[in-house]
Symmetry: C2
């Protein structure tokens, strides 16, 4: 499942507007290169993220993550590789509200809502609510997923280098690297 050029451009423009509402400066080149990931599921409004990668060397990575209202980043983990520890991620909410879920005691009445047909692929329900200024660090190899609240959200991600190509998603239909057609 690939994303159409029109859908890509619409999501990109919406992400640019979200940055403006959040008061976060990005360059014209960064605006032109916003990454739109629909995880190959073809339902970007429900499951997807929009990314600006500020830096990604062999030592360190920093990104800004945009989530549209109620948009979900699906459940996954960053496995420990042969000689490399798994990716360590800190999410810091800059704007809006983020519901972050990871392993631990399931929260009784979680605020996240996932599509009925994908529910089997969301297995961790320990809820952490992030408001602007709040942050949480996800250890290597630990399952997690997150969803925006009703306004959408902007998250900063500070991490060891990005390993998108080896991330393990709970949903077998997820394709992390988007195709645009």
């Amino acid at each position: 499942m690939a994303i159409s050029k029109e859908a890509y451009l619409a999501a990109r423009d919406r992400a640019v507007s979200t940055f403006e509402r959040a008061g976060i400066a990005i360059t014209e080149a960064e605006k032109d290169n916003i990454e739109v990931a629909d995880f190959g599921l073809g339902r970007l409004d429900e499951i997807g993220v929009e990314l600006v990668i500020y830096v990604n060397t062999d030592r360190v990575c920093a990104k800004e993550v945009i989530l549209f209202p109620h948009q979900i980043c699906p459940e996954h983990r960053h496995p420990i590789q042969a000689a490399i520890e798994g990716k360590e991620e800190t999410f810091r909410c800059r704007w809006g509200t983020v519901y972050l879920y990871t392993s631990g005691p399931a929260t009784a009445n979680p605020q996240g809502i996932v599509p009925e047909d994908r529910k089997p692929y969301f297995t961790v329900w320990h809820e952490i609510v992030l408001q602007p200024g709040d942050q949480y660090t996800v250890d290597p190899d630990r399952l997690h997923w997150f969803q925006a609240g009703p306004e959408g959200a902007v998250l900063s991600e500070f991490s060891t280098p990005s390993t998108d190509e080896v991330d393990i998603f709970s949903d077998p239909e997820v394709q992390r690297i988007p195709e645009v057609y």
Copy 2:
């Protein structure tokens, strides 16, 4: 040379106001723990930085750096340690203007102004001007210093782990770890 409690609290309050002007959310706990570094020179308005450290593990570090108007972070480098490569730093301007200097051809009419008596300790004058959204990565072991423009500035620093205790400053009187009396 230590910083007085009054000077520390005044700088902290000023840093909090700068975060508010920049529209960057920090928590009450972070406000209470803002680090004020006068580099042991006792002239914070001219030479100093204010820091909020978001994350600093053995793998990755992220900070927000506040500079008051014309405030200078003095020239230094992050040396390569025995088994560890030197710190790699990316500075991203969030608000205000930053004049960053590093090795390379000296800029003819640089906008940075340093105190006359410290001039011998500013040896690199290749100027990079950072406006909100602009960023620059300083390689390990490379000399650099930076100064805020007339409004002050907020910088995000994304890097490998902080090595403040081994950083090498060009000014022999600099003490990186502040004392508060």
